[in-house]
Amino acid sequence: MTWLLDLTPDEWNAVRLSIKVATAAMLASLPPGIAIALLLARGKFWGKTLLNGLVHLPLILPPVVTGYLLLLTFGRRGPAGAFLAEHFGIVFSFRWTGAALACGVMGFPLMVRAIRLSIEAVDRKMEAAAGTLGANPLWVFGTITLPLILPGLIAGAILSFAKAMGEFGATITFVSNIPNETQTLPTAIYTFTQVPGGDEGALRLTLISIIISMAALVASEVLARRVGRRMDIE
């Protein structure tokens, strides 16, 4: 097993970067993910179908296309990219933040889907009851709705994390494959497979990738079960 941990500094960086990117992508997508899921589950407005389609777009487009679209919008010269760089100093292109953005966008439909389903399963009568007890809509959301959709939130977050760990196409298109900056596990494995004698490194990173993904899955199961038990939904 020791050979597994015998990683070069560049390989270690890829592991660390992957976890950092996936965590950032997951956390940053949660607030908009909840908001969009709420809109889709409860909202009645013109263009709901359009919004739903837009959210699901990364799921059906080739990842390269999504990456290229991100490059066009959030690249140095893209409208959003230029605006953010100029006013907030946030730069995405060829940075790890860009990788996180690409991963977040790719995992967004999965997250929204999971959260939306759990919101639709919430008994709205519970919310009405909380209202008669004096809770305004914001409190009702925070104390009733949010705790009740927690299992869905966890599932959505883990899906987003797992998707980010494996994201390749959009990331490499948008922010390229720069060691120590934008080289995540999948792109690092890809690089290994492109050079002679890189098999051992590719295998090591592949195993690490499997371990991290499994750990995330198990963690989500344990969390969801604990939440479920707390609520006696058996």
Partner: protein
């Protein structure tokens, strides 16, 4: 304290057009399913916005479509107990109870945890999760949760409808205590004559979205003709009585009423305690002379004050027994055979065994009472 409702509302084919006002301790909205009771109570709670009309509680306008007023539910401070309890599954019983307290301004909190827990007997449940409670326990916790928000008015939407008879009998005494020992006015939705007769001080009777009668319980419940068909058999006179003494030899309790002494099966209540009984019209026989050689123990003298046709071959006869009206349902054939007419002096005969838990306020067991 008063509730004023004056509402016009459409739900598809169904139209509600209801006007009533009540200042009672416990006002029952009574009627068959589909008569609009639950819709009305939801409007008072602010869960449904009426198409047009006005709702006032204690002079405070909660909704007035003409003036564009609609107070949102969380600002009404009206407690609601739902048929399905609706306890929050992710909180303990204790947290459920505390929930409404959070949102009540400190100066307006009158309910305190200890006395509500004691009133409803839910002390042993506090640490549990709602999923681990029985239906009756859930409903008691739901009542406590609503009370602890210190509401100005408590609404109860068929709180017993989803419970079996044993659970109903378990909760009824607590609702009676709530009515008698707290100052909160209650509006209670029910389709059961038994519950209404036992609990209500005032009744608003609804049918097809309209108010067909309203007033004090004793008066409204006299109108057997207005009762929904499936509840007609349960209809009868409602009398307020007092426990006079217990007959230990035969296991009976003697009640004092305006109509005279009434013997019922033993009630676990102390002498002097008020008991409201309902004498079903179908349980009452009429005799033109004081009967002898008869097993029935309750023979009440009175005068016929009303005769109205009932369903099928029956007539309903109102007998004034010293100010308390007893109703009897007999056949038209018997009426003609006895030549009963308004003003006749007769005797109303009621068997002791026709009284049971459903038509006597059976009360709490003595040890809880003390």
């Amino acid at each position: 304290m008063s509730v004023l409702v004056d509402i016009g509302h459409r739900l598809g084919d169904f139209a509600i057009d209801a006007h009533f006002e009540s200042a009672g301790r416990l006002t029952a909205l009574f009627g068959p399913s589909g008569s609009g009771k639950t819709t009305l109570i939801n409007m008072i709670a602010g869960l449904i916005r009426p198409d047009q009309g006005r709702i006032e509680v204690d002079g405070r306008v909660l909704a007035d479509t003409g003036a564009g007023i609609f107070v949102p539910r969380h600002k009404r401070r009206i407690g609601m107990v739902f048929q399905d309890a609706r306890l929050f599954p992710h909180m303990s019983v204790m947290s459920n109870l505390r929930y409404g307290r959070w949102f009540t301004p400190a100066a307006e909190r009158y309910a305190d945890m200890d006395s509500v827990v004691e009133l409803l007997g839910i002390g042993p449940l506090l640490g549990r999760r709602p999923a681990k409670l029985s239906g009756g326990e859930k409903q008691r916790v739901a009542i406590g949760r609503a009370l602890l928000a210190s509401p100005r008015l408590l609404l109860m939407d068929e709180p017993l409808a989803s419970l079996d008879e044993a659970r109903k009998a378990e909760i009824l005494p607590y609702i009676e205590r709530l009515r008698d020992e707290t100052k909160i006015p209650i509006v209670y939705v029910s389709h059961s004559v038994g519950e209404v007769a036992r609990l209500a001080s005032d009744v608003v009777m609804l049918a097809q979205g309209k108010v067909i009668a309203s007033g004090p319980t004793e008066a409204v419940m006299q109108r057997l003709d207005l009762l929904p068909a499936e509840e007609r058999g349960e209809g009868g006179a409602v009398l307020d009585t007092k426990v006079l003494r217990h007959d230990e030899t035969f296991g009976m309790t003697v009640l004092g009423s305006a109509a005279g002494e009434i013997r019922v099966p033993r009630l676990e209540m102390k002498p002097g305690a008020p008991v409201r009984i309902r004498i079903r019209a179908r349980d009452v026989m009429i005799a033109t002379e004081k009967p002898t050689g008869l097993s029935a123990l309750n023979i009440l003298p009175g005068t016929i004050v009303a005769i109205s046709p009932g369903e099928g071959p029956t007539v309903e006869i109102g007998i004034d027994c010293d100010g308390a009206t007893v109703l009897a349902r007999i056949t038209e054939q018997s009426r003609q055979a006895l030549k009963l007419r308004l003003g006749d002096k007769v005797f109303a005969v009621v068997k002791t065994v026709s009284f049971d838990r459903a038509n006597t306020g059976a009360g709490l067991p003595l040890e809880v009472d003390g």
